[in-house]
Symmetry: C2
């Protein structure tokens, strides 16, 4: 069997997240339902980022084993699910490629509109949170969060009692006018980690949290110490990062498990 | 009674157009329902552009008589209807101002995505119509349509047997990459006129209609002669134009007030 790789974009608004769940409309569930009609049996999908309910994607990556022309998969899936879920790219991948385990990092972008008036045309994808934010304080807090750290204060391990150490490679705050964007890249994320990091940065920007307290919040390993969890609709999985050649990355002992939004 | 003027933006996707209709969810219907709670009686709204089902607005203008602080109207309406319908601006207008009859022109913008792959994040507001369009031919056709003309081939008069002569001041095709935008400005439009003009330009761009046939299509006064009617979701009412004297002096004065209640 060959490995087929899809790059997906989706509007997560009306989905209960990526992962299949009985009785819920999920992206994985819809995708498997359509793929099943072409492949004759339900494929086992490997995915770069298991996005939560309401979270979007522009560069989600999925892989599965199948003997089929990738362009046919793209045509069938887009015919059934576009424009809500779109296969942006479909190709064969090298043997051993796995969208989850071969990824060395995931990059998310959180969009905030701090202007006074909501915008009907961006409201599905941007968190409208009116009022000035102190960007320099947010950047100071972000710098204290980058690195290999225990993020137990900022989310849950995918499995009860699992490891909460992740390597946050980048946490950058961009501003243009009333629009803020926060880019977060890590080897993997624990559950709700991006939204909890963003909510904490916004609390810093609001002067509810002093940026100098961020190291203590990390050390506390206590979710009650971090800031709010930002709403899901501002968050988009932008891309997964793979080593050149797409070879599986070496993970340290104790796999971090699936990435989360 | 003073005249209150609102500038509205809305996502028309889930509305049956502007105009109130029994048993239908319309923008006017929702707005009147909310205004009634503040004004104690339903206001009579005058509107610059009666948008069709599925058509959006960024700069729709509405006026009505009321003794109330405009900023309070903005707060209440946005509290009830944002982000789907948003009061972008609220102010008093001079005596005699009427959003419909004082307007000298309306400007619409139609957005087309001619790229191969649909985009989940623009699909509500942009018509995805994959494949190259001959923009120079579209521009030639557009030039033949501008002017004071009888547009009976491109729509219906609002009233049975009514006048179909309108002054089309501007019909411009912009392109950037796969994205096309068509701006149409007229003193007023007959029903479905913008979408019929756009559909005809797209048929010209597709080589289904020769741009040299456009004068004959106009002269025919026959809807069967024009091109397709483009779908509503690509269309946005961008603004209404008022004569400099008709523009309320205090339009830019004062504070727009808070966005939400």
């Amino acid at each position: 069997m060959s490995v087929v790789k899809l790059v997906l974009a989706y509007d997560g608004t009306d989905f209960h997240g990526w992962a299949r769940q009985p009785g819920q409309r999920t992206i994985e569930g819809e995708l498997v339902r359509v793929l099943e009609t072409v492949l004759r049996e339900p494929p086992t999908l490997s995915v770069a980022g298991r996005t939560d309910a309401g979270v979007h994607a522009r560069g989600q990556e999925v892989s599965f084993a199948a003997e089929i022309e990738p362009s046919r998969i793209q045509r069938v899936v887009n015919g059934a699910l576009a424009p809500e879920v779109v296969v942006v790219w479909a190709s064969h991948a090298p043997d051993g490629f796995d969208a989850r385990f071969s990824a060395t990092a995931r990059e998310y972008r959180y969009r905030i509109d701090a202007g006074p008036i909501p915008d009907p045309f961006t409201a599905r994808y941007i968190w409208h949170r009116p009022g000035e934010l102190r960007v320099s304080a947010m950047r100071a807090a972000a710098r204290a969060l980058v690195g290999e750290q225990d993020f137990a204060s900022f989310g849950r391990a995918p499995n009860e009692g699992g490891d909460t150490v992740r390597r946050l490679e980048k946490l950058t705050v961009f501003r243009r006018g009333d629009r803020l964007e926060i880019v977060a890249r890590a080897n993997a994320f624990i559950q709700q980690m991006v939204r909890s990091l963003v909510g904490t940065l916004v609390d810093v920007g609001d002067e509810r949290i002093d940026p100098r307290d961020v190291p203590a919040i990390l050390q506390a390993r206590d979710r009650a110490r971090a800031g709010r969890v930002a709403p899901p609709h501002g968050l988009t999985l932008e891309r997964a990062v793979y080593a050149p050649g797409g070879r599986p990355a070496m993970y340290r002992a104790g796999s971090p498990g699936p990435a989360r939004g």
